[in-house]
């Protein structure tokens, strides 16, 4: 094919002046854009930088006034101290037991809430009953009741149920609050899920739970990720319920971190506090990094449509 080649050559000879000019000349608006974006980036990342560098230097370097400087002497002692020996409340246990408390709280709470939310969404969209809209409305309303309002009734409830001051009690509280949101997510996702699939499965002989388990749940990946990230972040970061409904041996990480920072007598060990704060933030960070990619996709695919 000689003709096209010839054309291509002439086309290319005509081009360089145009592209060359733009490539050589600096595109100022674009440069400005990147500079501004870079500044914002630094601004937002600065706190993390401060926390990180100060958790890795001896206390003396911090009190000497070098907040922004890199450590002169690198050390992981503050991390070890925050994890296992620091004074938290009355005991010098470090944050470890509370980290475990938080895990014991967040994993079952997220798992159960997500499954119940999925089941609710399934029933509210595919097995609509009289009053389904009202039930959904009430569940939604539950999402927006301020936490403070339920503190006293909830304390009474937990007492009656015999799970006051336990991790189980916290799991229960977070479940109750989380179900509204998880139901909202799954309901909107399943609303876009064709009813004909459920009908086809019925004709194929699948029952209520088989349809849920075999057909809907395997297709719910994106929205499950959204739901899990949302719940995990909220429950892990919650302070109010943790502070209100836990005893010393069932406090979650957030409350323990507060105690660590507040209760130190004598010298304030800023480097240990920074290390503890990063530890408290790591799990949510981890969840975002692992699943964040699906987060946006999930938001796009289901919950935005109504």
């Amino acid at each position: 094919m000689p003709a096209p080649t010839a054309n291509a050559v002439t086309a290319r000879t005509g081009e360089p002046s145009a592209t060359g000019a733009t490539r050589a000349g600096i595109h100022w608006p674009r440069v400005a854009l990147y500079v501004i974006l870079g500044l914002f980036c630094i601004y937002y990342l600065l706190p993390l930088y401060v926390m990180l560098v100060n958790s890795l230097k001896p206390l003396s370097e911090i009190t000497a006034g070098g907040m922004m400087a890199l450590p002169g002497e690198w050390t992981i002692a503050p991390w070890q101290s925050a994890w296992s020996t620091a004074q938290v409340g009355v005991e010098a246990t470090g944050l470890r037991p509370y980290f475990i408390n938080s895990l014991l709280m967040v994993v079952p709470a997220v798992a159960i809430t997500t499954v119940i939310g999925a089941l609710n969404g399934y029933v509210l969209t595919k097995w609509r009953f009289r009053g389904a809209t009202l039930v959904f409305g009430l569940l939604l309303f539950g999402c927006f009741i301020p936490f403070q309002m339920v503190l006293i009734p909830m304390a009474r409830m937990l007492g009656l149920m015999g799970i006051a001051g336990t991790v189980t009690g916290l799991v229960f509280v977070h479940m109750v609050y989380g179900i509204g949101f998880s139901t909202l997510y799954f309901r909107n996702y399943y609303a876009a899920f064709p009813d004909e699939l459920v009908r086809a499965a019925q004709i194929d002989g699948a029952g209520f739970f088989t349809i849920f388990w075999r057909i809907l749940l395997p297709s719910s990946g994106p929205i499950a990720v959204v739901c899990i990230i949302w719940l995990f972040t909220n429950i892990w970061n919650d302070f109010l319920f943790g502070a209100s409904f836990s005893d010393f041996d069932s406090q979650p990480m957030t409350v323990a971190l507060n105690n660590l920072v507040q209760s130190s007598t004598g010298v304030k060990e800023y480097n240990v506090h920074f290390a503890g704060a990063i530890m408290a933030a790591l799990p949510t960070l981890f969840v975002y990094i692992v699943a964040g990619r699906y987060f946006v996709r999930g938001l796009m695919s289901g919950s935005v449509k109504g």
Binding site: L197, R199, A201, Q202, I203, D204, A206, T210, P218
Partner: protein
């Protein structure tokens, strides 16, 4: 008693009656098409046969067994849906096998059946793909494959071709017909496309407004529509319907129609005596193929009448040319052979075959002649 009996069945949603008392009896091996515009109750009726919706009153009997209160899975039916409803998370193999798995059929038997069905529908090479990787036509085949594994008493099709493009639709139509001839299973098929209804069915039930308007073979429905709705709905291009008046011509009833230039023409109905209804206003119905150029008129017909009328528009359609003129103040389409030199704006002779003409009461819309 037929193989599938719809016996005085009605359906209401709250106070809204979507299906009025309906009786249809389907023989084994029949291909019944329920056809009608959106909201006529055809899909509701199909869903009630499937058991996806309960009947409000009456009963549905399949193979001698009343289906009231019987779950869809226990009715020995299979259904193909408009959106195909393939499970997106399963492979084609999984989709086809799911129903058998739910009915507790052992794995070996399932594998055998899958291979058999895949062979029949030529989807063997697709078995390990997910529905998302298939084209519309392939999905359609898989959906049919899923239904076929059941050896059902009755196949139900809910507008299975309406998501396909025009070419594929025609191909799949032929395939469904072939499948029916091969398997001989009773089929109930819902569509809003009257061409599908005419080409596929052994019998058609035309539905509108929650009533079955007419039930009969495609030929009966086409040639002898029971009312104005059926006449206008079935056939493409649709039947010409225009106002006329009954007069007496040589002792027999005839239709007097006005032509575009103010004259009128008298067209005697074929093979009818006596009138007693002179002066009655009617809606005359004549299909386009019964209005032709004089040379193209049906030679066997003994009631061809020629009128002059002005040609308004011509629409060539390959083998034919559709010619639009005015009769009774309405546009009327005639079907000429493609080689007739007909031009818009000229007067031309139109041969009307009155053997094929029908007449309706404009108010009640019921058939008169």
């Amino acid at each position: 008693m037929g193989f599938l009996d719809i016996d005085r069945v009605t359906k209401s949603f709250g106070g809204l009656k979507v299906l009025h008392e309906t009786d249809i009896s389907v023989e084994e091996g029949e291909f019944l098409v329920l056809v009608g515009p959106s909201g006529c109750g055809k899909s509701t009726l199909l869903n009630m046969i499937a058991g996806l919706e309960e009947v409000s009153s009456g009963q549905i009997v399949i193979n001698g067994r009343s289906m009231n209160g019987v779950k869809p899975a226990d009715r020995n039916i299979a259904m193909v849906f408009q959106s195909y409803a393939l499970y997106p998370n399963m492979t084609v193999r999984g989709n086809i096998s799911f129903g058998m798995e739910m009915h507790g059929i052992p794995k070996k038997e399932r594998e055998k059946k899958i291979a058999e069905v895949a062979e029949l529908l030529q989807i063997s090479q697709l078995l390990d793909r997910k529905p998302g990787q298939l084209s519309g036509g392939q999905r359609q085949r898989v959906a049919m494959g899923r239904a076929l594994t059941r050896d059902p008493d009755v196949f139900l099709f809910d507008e299975p071709l309406s998501n396909l493009d025009a070419k594929l639709r025609v191909d799949m139509r032929t395939e469904i017909k072939k499948l029916h001839q091969k398997l001989g299973t009773t089929i109930v098929y819902v569509t809003h496309d009257q061409i599908e209804a005419l080409t596929l069915s052994t019998r058609i039930a035309v539905m509108y407004g929650g009533y079955v308007q007419q039930i009969g073979t495609p030929q009966e429905i086409y040639d002898n529509p029971a009312n104005l709705f059926v006449a206008g709905f079935m056939g493409s291009p649709s039947m010409n319907l225009f106002p006329a008046r009954i007069v007496s011509a040589n002792g027999a009833p005839a239709a007097e129609i006005s032509l575009s230039d103010g004259r009128s023409a008298v067209l005697p109905f074929a093979g009818r005596d006596g009138t007693g209804e002179e002066g009655r206003e009617i809606t005359l119905g004549i299909r386009p193929e019964a209005i032709t150029e004089p040379d193209g008129a049906d030679r066997k017909s003994r009631a061809v009448h020629v009128v002059d009328s002005r040609v308004e528009i011509t629409e060539p359609a390959g083998s034919d040319i559709f010619v639009v003129t005015q009769m009774g103040g309405k546009d009327v389409t005639a079907r000429f052979s493609a080689d007739v030199p007909v031009k818009p704006g000229e007067d031309f002779q139109f041969a009307i075959n009155m053997e094929k003409a029908v007449a309706f009461d404009p108010k009640t819309e019921a058939r008169i002649i």
